[in-house]
């Protein structure tokens, strides 16, 4: 039993953190809103240079060959800066899918992902829309129990605008006659595993978003004065933020456990992912509610950066399985007779 990350995992996280916090300033995010694609190919290449796009790509294909557990803290850091680039989708969902499909498709695309020459994106149809389909060099698309590997000229896109200007969402329609790479019984386990990884990615980003909003609120309330003192000295304000700290503290371990279960192929991984997704998205939603409250009217503006993180948190709560669907999975596992419950049933 060892519920800690290795020194290597933490060093990698710290390096990613330094890079992301240094590069992804909110000004850069705001600028991306005004571009056509909302995405930045130069940034994608930078991410590749420090090894982030290839984290999960097998070493044989030029990557680092790491797993969900190695990546989960990196996804958290992506959330902290509200990274617009589809790194989490690519590394945590699309690449493992490609690896599982194997063959020429994997051999062709994986080295390009590791090198930062291509973005591979997964959209597995549990959400009606696919994020970042417009910048996918290869789109792994699940529909009707089939898995498609689509190149840009093989599908049509219709954009649906999100409250979060960083999010680019599309309805995908494969061209008539395009064949699936896998179907039925072959596609099913891959689509299911991809879904779990997507949900884990959301959960990990939600942790980062919650932490960011908490940090911003602590900072803001230390500076803003009313009644002749910093508003952060008022107990009502303190307790709002303490509640966020508690929620965050008890959302982390479920997310890490879910990552570990996925990496180890634990059959209970779906239950663990559902818990992680609910806990982390709840913590992020609470962070949003409390943060806007302690910011006062400033928090309700477009100009103050808080909304960048709030909106992403709100959006993630409904992505890769909304709360109702994850809760339904838990209910099935827990409320039926014979479920392992109680002391000693956790591991």
């Amino acid at each position: 039993m060892d519920f800690t990350f290795t020194d290597e995992q933490c060093l990698f996280r710290d390096a990613a953190r330094d890079f992301l916090r240094g590069e992804i300033k909110t000004q850069r995010i705001r600028e991306s809103w005004n571009t056509d694609s909302g995405r930045d190919t130069a940034l994608w290449r930078q991410l590749a240079e420090i090894g982030l796009t290839g984290v999960t790509v097998p070493e044989a294909h030029g990557g680092l060959g790491l797993d969900e557990l190695d990546f989960v803290q990196l996804a958290q850091e992506c959330g902290y800066v509200a990274l617009p680039e589809p790194l989490v989708n690519c590394a945590l969902v699309a690449v493992p899918l490609l690896v599982a499909v194997g063959d020429e498709l994997a051999a062709h695309w994986l080295p390009k992902v590791a090198a930062g020459e291509a973005r591979v994106i997964a959209g597995l149809a549990q959400d009606p829309l696919v994020e970042d389909a417009h910048v996918a060099d290869l789109l792994l698309y699940g529909e009707g129990g089939n898995l498609y590997a689509l190149q840009p000229d093989e599908y049509a896109l219709v954009r649906s605008e999100s409250v979060d200007p960083s999010r680019r969402l599309f309805r995908v329609t494969p061209n008539p006659g395009v064949a699936a790479v896998l179907d039925g019984a072959q596609a099913e386990p891959l689509l299911a595993a991809g879904f779990e990884r997507g949900a884990l990615g959301c959960a990990a980003q939600a942790l980062g978003l919650a932490q960011r909003m908490l940090d911003m609120s602590v900072e803001y309330t230390a500076q803003r004065e009313q009644f002749g003192r910093p508003i952060g000295s008022f107990q009502a304000v303190k307790h709002h933020l303490a509640d966020v700290a508690v929620a965050l503290e008890y959302a982390r371990a479920p997310v890490y456990r879910a990552a570990c279960s996925l990496a180890r192929g634990d059959p209970r991984a779906p239950l663990h992912v559902a818990h992680a997704k609910l806990a982390a998205c709840d913590a992020a939603s609470l962070a949003a509610t409390k943060s806007i409250q302690v910011h006062g009217a400033m928090g309700y503006t477009w100009e103050v950066d808080l909304h960048i993180f709030m909106k992403k948190a709100w959006a993630l709560a409904g992505s890769w399985g909304d709360a109702a669907s994850h809760k339904a999975r838990i209910a099935e596992a827990v409320l039926d007779d014979g479920a392992p419950l109680g002391a000693g049933a956790t591991f």
Binding site: F3, V246, A251, S261, H275, I330, L335, A343, T346
Partner: protein
């Protein structure tokens, strides 16, 4: 990260399970807030001691097993699974014991710890006073130094299990001119010392679970002091410190409550489902108990590897006490019209121990530092917000 038990850990679990199966009383003991129940629980502590299970993390020469915190968590899981009796000497083994190991003299350790481990001496905490509750630095009870003796005068209140306990430990003002947390000293007092009067206070369930303690020229030797004179605050903070906080409420306890809640829901599903909020609360209970377990294992692993605990540990008191309150409240809602019935009432079939659990859960957010005080600590020490 490796979330499987090692072979040694599995063997440890098997040994604990086997021993508990052979020794846990078949019938639940009477409440330890009754005279007979207290005695029976004291005897149970002796049984545990003979099996070397009193406190598995303690070193072997004190009757422990030198276990890691993870093993302690495993033991607690088996303990709660087995439905074993409540621990009547919790204040001794979880709070005073570790403090003694850190601050006690060799003579004090040798004199106190073995009898604490065997249940021969049961300990009560005596911090609170009528005017020093959340504001513990307002303590006024005096301990005046006279040669090798302290002469204690004053009053303590809310002292859990003091009615039948043998000793109490707490803080007294040794410097009459001192203010706040200065000039306080940590002193151990045998409750049978002349001048000590213990007045039971009935709790919500009517039983005298705590007591007032009056000190009227009570003389105790200076050797009963823990740490330096005037350093009581620092020693006391160690008692309140995290590892003890961690040990006070093992996740197993709440996971068993969550399990019982799921079972209660299943038994009463048809009526419970008339209110969809109940089902939601049951799921929440399961998840939060699980989260508490996961976070505790994470912390235990970190500490076992030599890590240090930070102020983030204040989140745990809030989390478990509010979880417990929510779980018991949900059980009451499921029981509906039966919820108010005492367990022996003729119409009380199927109510189990929920009413008692519910009543006690109301005190969780108050004792051991109220949750408002914990939130202040989180805001100021963990988040660094201005005072």
């Amino acid at each position: 990260m490796q979330l499987d038990y090692t072979e040694e850990q599995q063997a440890f679990r098997a040994e604990a399970r086997q021993w508990l199966a052979a020794h846990v009383p078949a019938e639940p003991l009477p409440s330890y807030d009754t005279e007979e129940g207290f005695q029976r629980h004291r005897e149970w502590e002796a049984v545990l001691h003979r099996g070397r299970w009193t406190m598995v993390t303690w070193p072997g020469d004190l009757g422990g097993r030198g276990s890691s915190l993870v093993e302690w968590l495993i033991f607690e899981e088996e303990y709660y699974r087995a439905g074993a009796p409540k621990r009547v000497n919790m204040n001794g083994i979880c709070l005073l014991g570790p403090t003694l190991m850190e601050y006690g003299s060799e003579a004090q350790k040798a004199r106190i710890l073995p009898k604490m481990a065997s249940g021969e001496e049961i300990w009560a905490q005596a911090w609170s006073e009528p005017n020093a509750g959340s504001d513990m630095a307002a303590i006024r009870s005096r301990a005046a130094r006279q040669g090798d003796t302290y002469v204690i005068n004053g009053q303590k209140i809310w002292s859990t299990r003091a009615v039948w306990a043998d000793w109490c430990f707490g803080m007294f003002r040794t410097d009459p001119d001192s203010q706040r947390h200065h000039g306080l000293t940590f002193i151990l007092v045998p409750l049978d010392t002349p001048g000590v009067t213990v007045r039971p206070i009935p709790q919500l369930d009517g039983l005298p679970g705590f007591a007032e303690i009056f000190f009227d020229d009570v003389e105790v030797p200076v050797a009963n002091r823990l740490g330096e004179e005037g350093a009581g605050w620092r020693v006391a903070m160690a008692t309140a410190g995290f590892e003890r906080g961690l040990m006070l409420r093992a996740p197993a306890r709440f996971q068993e409550t969550a399990r019982r809640l799921v079972e209660l829901y299943r038994e009463n599903r048809a009526s419970a489902d008339r209110d969809p909020a109940i089902r939601d609360a049951v799921l929440r209970a399961y998840l939060d108990a699980e989260a508490y377990c996961l976070a505790t294992y994470q912390t235990a692993c970190r500490l076992d590897q030599g890590g240090k605990i930070g102020p983030e540990s204040s989140t745990n008191k809030i989390f478990w006490s509010e979880l417990d309150q929510a779980m018991c409240g949900t059980a009451m809602r499921i029981l509906g019209a039966r919820a108010e019935l005492l367990p022996h009432a003729p119409a009380a079939a199927g109510v189990g121990t929920w009413l008692d659990d519910f009543l006690f859960a109301q005190s969780g957010p108050i004792y051991a530092g109220s949750n408002e005080i914990q939130r202040n600590i989180i805001a100021e020490r963990m988040l660094g917000m201005p005072r």
